[in-house]
Symmetry: C2
Subunit: 377 residues, 2 copies
């Protein structure tokens, strides 16, 4: 018998009551019944984003929401700034370069947070910068960035602040309006406990001003068209109807638990995971760890890919390895979305068992779960 | 008690065994288990497209697949031709214009097929034309275009032929390779009996040559990146995993029935629908009607929107109205995807009942189902 556990930073487990909603007979997307559900979802997303601004929904991966933000805000020749310390921060650079916009970049060592001081300095010396792009929780390194302070810095300038919170949304504290975040991108398959296929973009009025003026080409991604359809409780093109209906159910669960309790749950699960790993003498990779995913350095001499493979193939437990330069060097345990205390114990226990069976030395077996449990209960 | 029936040209009904697949616990998209399913889906799509070429899968609506085709084939300044006689033919023009490519256009009266003679002439007098864009089955008018002949015409030139077969795929006969179609775009929520959220693009080697050289900007839509990932049984970005798993089930059903039988089933259902409508003294809108959807002119004095609304709200039966200039003037009964003979009788009967209750004259009640049944059984 093999049971499967998903402890990866997206897709994350889908609650059965959410999954079943997506299996109900499909509705047509231009009916009052679907319109009512769609409106509820948009309202629910406003709560999740903590915004009174515009929230748009796109049928695409999160990356689609990122590209949509770029083409809706910018025009050829625009000056922009990207602050990155990981794979997903770098994705902003790649998207921008695709549109022949060469961003100024502040790239920090991976594992560290982005450097707010340098961003502030850059903005002061270059008043032409139209937008600052960065990441909320950098999934590749397990780092969380301080968006509250960054928001205060950027709000003093004419630039808009554009945030990839694809993995952070509904897991790590975020206040779009209160923190002066102008554009925030999210996706369905992370904290929102849904299947992948939907991305979301929250926009402030300051950002919307740019949308009206932007000259980069856009058809499917066009925010103006989406906003216009929103007034009719519709999307411009056939949306992923079943995923939206399931999302409505997930948002109901989120509203019932409340965002504050969800953030606190993630904080506790993350803290327990970190304690469990440290009890095993393992070193955390992130200097400023997020509550989304815990990145752990592989013990000396062990390719983390081997551990990930063993857990997946032998125990049915999916965790993530390292990406790009971190391949083989770290593994990542997510505590994201539909996860409770017992799930964390499963994850830590699987790591302990894997390390033991791979012959790793230098740690006392069964101390990880013990350390975690002391925090969890 | 209200039962719901979906007789619209997308989304179409989803077989329960397909819907339930999408509710199973989600798999991670970078595992060998998902890789195996993804590979099966791509192979299955090759059968559906009738191609040995490249088939790519995008997480987006069908329109995303259309935009992706434009940006992957063309460069600024390219000369292209669009043949259109409906909303979806015109969509090619709008997408092209977004990228500042002003196409030559051959726009026919709606309800007629595209004009092959004019296309041939245009191609002969303008050898610079790089691509011809058109539609297989024009959903807005119920017309099918003769792609076999068009394929022969374009194959003699250096131009590639780009087809929107979003509503036609797996319903109306189509042979990508045999008919020399270079690019064919499909989507999940039509003949493929799945939920919306996936689009597909089949590409010939002739088309792939352009992909390598195209200069329009593309990141999420980049076919080169998708083809590279395909070799690893992956997609570049997190795909709509649950929709792909469900699609695998739908494709199994399609392979079992066989494409030839599916095309024949659609042909018979369409023929019965047309006979049913004509028995009610209603006029068909399309001169060259497709097997996907039957467009019917509203009886004198009746706004077709009223009929559509009555059927939906009072009988639980969704059919489609007219779009743009055809709003109020036609209604459309789809016989697309997971539909059998009895579904057709339901649709025709609903129209008869609606017309009667709306006080329409000039037809003999209960003759529509009778005429249809004589063809169906």
């Amino acid at each position: 018998m093999k049971k499967y556990y998903l402890l990866t930073p997206g897709p994350t487990p889908i609650p059965p009551e959410v999954a079943l909603e997506s299996a109900l007979p499909i509705l047509h997307h231009r009916t009052s019944e679907f319109g009512a559900i769609f409106t509820q979802v948009i309202e629910g997303l406003k709560y999740v984003f903590q915004t009174q601004g515009t929230v748009l929904l796109v049928t695409s991966s999160g990356t689609g929401g990122m590209e949509a933000s770029v083409v809706n805000l910018l025009s050829p020749g625009d000056k922009v700034l990207v602050a990155s310390s990981g794979v997903f921060g770098d994705r902003w650079i790649k998207i921008l370069e695709t549109y022949r916009i060469k961003p100024e970049t502040i790239c920090n060592e991976w594992g560290k947070a982005i450097d707010l001081g340098s961003i502030e300095k850059k903005l002061k010396t270059n008043s032409e910068i139209k937008a600052v792009f960065t990441t909320h929780t950098e999934t590749s390194t397990g780092v969380v960035n301080d968006l509250k302070t960054l928001g205060e810095i950027v709000a003093k300038t004419d630039a808009v602040l554009v945030i990839d919170s694809i993995s952070g949304l509904c897991a790590q504290e975020l206040h779009t309006d209160k923190w002066h975040l102008d554009v925030v991108v999210g996706a369905s398959q992370k904290g929102l406990m849904n299947a992948p296929g939907l991305s979301f973009v929250a926009l402030s009025d300051k950002a919307w001003n740019l949308v009206e003026k932007a000259q980069l080409p856009r058809f499917y991604w066009d925010f103006r068209r989406m906003k216009k359809s929103l007034a009719d409780k519709e999307t411009p093109f056939t949306p992923a109807v079943t995923l939206i209906i399931a999302l409505n159910q997930a948002i109901e669960m989120i509203k019932k638990e409340t965002l504050e309790k969800i953030w606190a749950r993630h904080e506790k699960l993350a803290r327990a995971t970190r304690a469990g790993m440290q009890a095993l003498n393992l070193e955390l990779f992130a200097q400023n760890p997020s509550n989304v995913v815990t990145a752990v350095k592989s013990p000396q001499g062990l390719d983390s890919g081997k551990l990930v493979k063993k857990l997946r193939e032998e125990y049915g437990i999916s965790i993530a390895g390292g990406q790009q330069d971190l391949k083989g060097k770290i593994f990542r345990l997510a505590h994201l979305g539909y996860m409770n205390e017992f799930d964390i114990l499963v994850g830590i226990s699987a790591v302990e068992r894997g390390l033991k069976e791979l012959g790793c030395q230098g740690f006392e077996f069964a101390t990880g779960v013990s350390a975690a449990e002391k925090i969890l209960f």
